[in-house]
């Protein structure tokens, strides 16, 4: 599976242009016909590539319309200012409407029970049928706040006004809990919570903050998913080793297991394979820069390390990005089909 593909890669797979810009972080399409086309486009590509899991994310609620500013930026539902990235054909967060923590206190968060949020998930389920696996995305409340405030403001407020940041994460967690209930009703099989906790060196904020704020809120979301019979996968790039023990006690699986940050999927498998599903981890850099033969070898190595005993879903270490070579991506899938067959003994 792949958690997502950039539009240029999907255009290369489908052989046709997608008429609208999207965002991997936030709903930006309000027109329902266009949103259906987006879902159809993703489904078509996933079918062509022959993935085992389909993915769908949240749609914009029905009463929301995007506002494009005179400078070409767009403000999303969460106060994030997005700009258009031509290479990825996507809107990416780069600024914020929040200048002070009090601005957030006065900000009205979107209503999780408003109609329309789960439009894409319901539509995708309808199109792919009941038998296909469907993963639904939510945005992790820590990562969401990190992006909403921008990393610099998040950090400054975290040190100067920690209660504001904590409160923001709690509010976003409450939103996610309501959304998780609706996702379950829409027929998804499991949740993938997007947004990073770590970068190449390690966790982005001190571990104490994770233990006091991030993990308790993560657990609330996982519990909400479990109550509805959904498994919960946490995505994060970066070096997760310093927080792996805690994560393994909260979530059902991990996605990305970033090899460029020194995460060895074999070591994670040996230590946590009995309790975690591992989704990964052919390096996205390899998909972009290495030869097809090297990608095949790396994929075989990944299967050797992570697949024995089950609990492994082969994927890249993030997503199929615009810079990836399509032939490498397809070679990864083909290698998975050929060698990912039990018993693993090649």
């Amino acid at each position: 599976m792949e958690v997502s593909m950039d539009v240029p890669i999907m255009e290369a797979i489908s052989g046709r242009k997608f008429p609208a810009a999207i965002s991997l972080q936030t709903p930006v399409i309000s027109d329902r016909e266009l949103e259906k086309k987006r879902c159809d486009f993703i489904i078509e590509c996933y079918k062509k590539v022959d993935f085992d899991v389909f993915t769908a994310d949240l749609s914009a609620p029905e009463d929301w319309k995007p506002t494009i500013n005179p400078d070409g930026t767009l403000i999303d539902l969460w106060g994030r200012v997005l700009m258009f990235d031509e290479q990825h054909k996507a809107w990416v967060p780069y600024s914020t409407i929040f200048n002070t923590p009090e601005d957030f206190e006065n900000f009205e968060l979107p209503d999780a029970n408003a109609p329309g949020w789960i439009f894409a998930i319901e539509y995708t389920r309808k199109v792919i049928g009941e038998d296909a696996a469907l993963a639904a995305f939510i945005r992790d409340s820590f990562a969401h706040a990190w992006e909403m405030f921008t990393p610099m403001k998040f950090v400054v407020w975290m040190y100067k006004n920690p209660h504001y940041v904590k409160r923001a994460i709690e509010k976003l967690t409450e939103f996610n809990i309501q959304i998780i209930k609706r996702i379950a009703e829409a027929g998804a099989d499991f949740i993938i919570s997007g947004g990073d906790y770590c970068e190449e060196k390690g966790p982005m904020v001190p571990i104490r903050f994770f233990k006091e704020v991030v993990f308790p809120n993560l657990k609330k979301q996982v519990d909400a998913a479990h109550k509805k019979g959904l498994k919960f996968i946490k995505h994060t790039d970066g070096n997760i080793i310093p927080i792996l023990d805690d994560l393994a006690n909260i979530v059902d699986g991990l996605h990305s297991l970033d090899p460029t940050a020194g995460v060895d999927i074999g070591e994670v498998k040996a230590k946590y394979g009995h309790k975690l599903v591992l989704i990964g981890n052919v390096a996205v850099d390899s998909l972009a820069k290495k030869s097809k033969a090297e990608v095949i070898e790396e994929t075989k190595n990944c299967i050797r390390k992570a697949s024995p005993g089950g609990g492994h879903i082969l994927s890249s270490s993030n997503s199929w990005a615009a810079g990836a070579k399509l032939e490498n991506c397809l070679a990864m899938v083909k290698t998975g089909r050929k060698y990912g067959v039990y018993p693993i003994n090649f």
Binding site: P151, M152, V155, V156, M158, Y159, K160, E199, E200, K201, G202, P203, M204, V205, P206, I207, F209
Partner: protein, 239 residues
Amino acid sequence: MPLVRVTENTFLVYTSGAIILKENRSEILGKLKELISKIADFEEVNKAVTEALGSEIDPFSLVNALSEALEEVGKKYESGEYFLSELMMAGYLASQVANMLKPYLVRTTTKTFGKIVFGTVKGDIHDIGKNIVIMLLKAAGFDVIDLGVDVPAEKFAEAVREHNPDILAMSALLTVTMPEMKNVIDVLKENGLRDRIKVIVGGRPVTPEFADEIGADGYAEDAVKAVSMVKKLVGVKEG
């Protein structure tokens, strides 16, 4: 205000006819460094800087102390002792101090010695070091076009074409983004722009060896030395 050095760390300052003994210059600078590297409250840092400026310490020494503090925090981050947020917060504190120092680093000349295009390379969003160098370059009489952070190679090339600078300066804080500096030089070559300008590189992980290896014309290990390097490259005498 005249200063007379008594010992390495002790100065006599003549104020309104009185002689005030100013001891422990290094202690004052050391305190500022410590406050930043231990991520103190800005109020404490503010107080230390105000005291330092009141002690007639050369503001350029404070800039150096800032650079050293950031260097130390950077090393702690690289070694895993500090997290990204601590690196960012130290940068924030340093930028606040830099803002306090700005009025003391005013341009002392009306001459313009050259034009510099400056940016943090693609993949890197850190700009505190860059901003400190820019502040000093402007004070030293250079026009600086600041391209900001996360600047793609093509944008550097475009800026060179548009502004025709004497120097292109690149900054990187992260080891992983250093290779992008070579990429920028390659793109300049591909566009026939490399020979028009001098290229200098800097940032915590950058070394003189790396600068040589990628074909840069200059490297400086801190903000003050960066200004000297720029002056040397454009043929301005220090003074």
